[in-house]
């Protein structure tokens, strides 16, 4: 075998979930004290349990909901199908929530996993190049401006019960979590200083945020707050945009051509 073949063989032995490979003794040196199979088993155990530990550290609430045994079973099956594709081991869970959904895991658990992944993504996001502030806005150009969000801001729609389940362990309170009757709830996840926080959003703010991230202008964003009562709409749009600035969600306000 050449170098590439030897490495492929080693990788198969170390990552195989189905037991030792044939011809192991012809490739590796064993001894009376420890056979080649025993020696490769050290790497095999290390591979799966190191990655399982990484999953557990990111998806601690998912693990709590699933229980240790089911988490290990599902985690190992996930790792066998989704090897890591990132140099940082903590990112191995990139597709874990989708995997859980695909194997019929209850939506509540899938959504907690999605929330935990969003929180990890916010935690490790690069720092923004800048943070936009209200006092630097060109008011004349503001209606046509587009908003560029900081890298740590993530948003997703969840079963509101997922927020409750997360809050059970986190002791966090959340407005949306008290209204668990609604089918889906928009949630923003971001990093403030060194902490990751998440917050549910009212429906109009959720629509505004999704569209703003897709490139809508401030004028178009404000339209999502129209309720038939112009003063209320203006007030709500103002409050939401002010909150985005206050939470340092905006990296830049980019002027558009008229």
């Amino acid at each position: 075998m050449n170098l590439a073949e030897l490495e492929q063989y080693f990788a198969r032995a170390a990552t195989s979930g189905t037991g030792p490979l044939p011809e192991l003794d012809r490739v590796f040196v064993g001894s009376e004290r420890l056979s080649a199979t025993d020696r490769l088993a050290i790497y095999n155990r290390g591979y799966f349990y190191r990655l399982l530990d990484a999953l557990a550290s990111v998806f601690s609430q998912t693990k709590r909901l699933l229980g240790d045994s089911d988490f290990e079973r599902l985690g190992l099956a996930y790792l066998a199908r989704h090897p890591s594709d990132h140099p940082a081991v903590e990112r191995v869970g990139r597709s874990f929530a989708e995997y859980l959904r695909g194997v019929g895991t209850p939506t509540l658990v899938v959504d907690v996993a999605s929330l935990e992944w969003a929180r990890l993504s916010a935690l490790v996001a690069p720092n923004p190049a800048s943070v936009a502030t209200v006092n630097r806005i060109d008011l004349g150009a503001f209606p046509r401006a587009r908003l560029h969000f900081v890298p740590s801001l993530h948003f997703l729609e969840l079963d509101p019960r997922a927020l409750l389940a997360f809050a059970d362990a986190d002791s966090a309170t959340d407005q949306c979590a008290t209204n668990a009757a609604q089918p889906l709830c928009g949630v923003a996840v971001w990093r403030t200083r060194h902490m990751v926080v998440h917050q549910s959003l009212i429906a109009a703010e959720w629509r505004a945020l999704v569209n703003a991230a897709a490139g809508a202008t401030v004028q178009q964003i404000c339209a999502f707050f129209e309720t038939g009562s112009e003063p209320d709409a203006v007030q709500q749009a103002f409050q939401v945009l002010s909150r985005w600035f206050a939470r340092e969600w905006l990296e830049a306000v980019i002027a558009s051509e008229p």
Binding site: L3, E7, A11, V29, S84, A88, L123, V124, A125, N127
Partner: protein, 298 residues
């Protein structure tokens, strides 16, 4: 033990810490559970080592810790995912981010492991041993040179602990390591715990290993703990440095001089003060050994 008032001066001192220079610079590897303590109280060491992958492309708390530490002392970057011996292509994004980070923090050194850890486009997040063959030497040397060209600096390669050897190997591990660093003009980050663990697992002499290395290539030392897994030694970095590894450390000072030394601890991580005590011990051994040598000199 000292906290360097002038990090630039400390960097200069470390950079000049060549074998026999008499300097005993000791630090330890920073780990996430220590971040709160570091942000609150800073760090007491001559220099610090961080795992490169924990900072590549990242911001937030991790980077604040790094900047805080770097404002006090030199920082060495130590990678785990370069896969210098892998047959997957080197990843351009990884090298770009590593180069940017090294430049940004004026890294005292950049190191990774002489092993492979990628397969079919995936990361193993483990340090898998290479076959010690001429083909592997040529392959690794070419990749080390590419990395060094990208970084614009010498790469240090650490020997890994291992539990298995390939029948295809035609060289001893120390011969393989020596050939790679000499041909690639790279340095050695000598992990004494790894030497000892592999020596016990494969039945060779750790001391012979050290004596066979090219002295001018050994530039840094790692110290760590291991455990007895029953039938083999396991390199878990989960305990204090063992007595036998401290002995190897003293031997290494005789052979290579007092080199910048890092104490590593990953599993069952203790309070920072325990690592500081280990670093103190390394520093004291280093100074005592050099003092004894000085007294014995004619």
């Amino acid at each position: 033990m000292r906290s360097t008032a002038d990090p630039q001066q400390a960097l200069s001192e470390l950079a000049s810490a060549q074998p026999g220079s008499g300097l005993a610079c000791v630090g330890f590897g920073l780990r996430v559970p220590h971040y709160d303590s570091i942000l609150s109280h800073g760090l007491v060491a001559d220099f610090a080592e961080v795992v490169s992958e924990n900072f590549l492309g990242r911001g937030g708390r991790a980077f604040s810790v790094l900047e805080r530490v770097r404002s006090d002392m030199p920082v060495a970057l130590h990678g785990v995912s370069l896969s210098i011996g892998g047959t997957d292509p080197l990843r351009d994004t990884y090298l770009t981010e590593l180069s940017e980070l090294a430049t940004r923090i004026e890294a005292f050194s950049v190191s990774d492991h002489l092993c492979f850890g990628t397969f079919g486009g995936h990361y193993a997040h483990d340090l898998w041993p290479l076959p010690y063959t001429e083909e592997a030497i040529s392959h690794v040397v070419e990749r080390v040179q590419k990395v060094q060209d990208r970084l614009g600096r010498r790469l240090l390669l650490e020997n890994v602990s291992s539990y298995v050897e390939y029948r295809a190997s035609t060289l001893e591990e120390w011969q393989f390591l020596s050939e790679v660093v000499t041909r690639a003009d790279a340095g050695i980050l000598l992990d004494l715990n790894n030497v000892y663990v592999s020596a016990e697992n494969h039945g060779f002499s750790a001391l012979s290993y050290l004596r066979a290395l090219p002295r001018d290539r050994v530039q840094q030392i790692h110290l760590a703990g291991h455990s007895d897994a029953g039938g083999y030694l396991f390199d878990d970095h989960g305990s204090a440095v063992s007595a036998v590894v401290w002995q190897l450390y003293q031997e290494s000072i005789e052979l290579f001089g007092a080199l910048p030394t890092i104490v590593e601890w990953d599993e069952r991580l203790p309070e920072l003060s325990v690592l500081e005590a280990e670093a103190d011990h390394a520093r004291a051994l280093s100074k005592a050994r050099l003092a004894a040598r000085h007294e014995a000199a004619p």
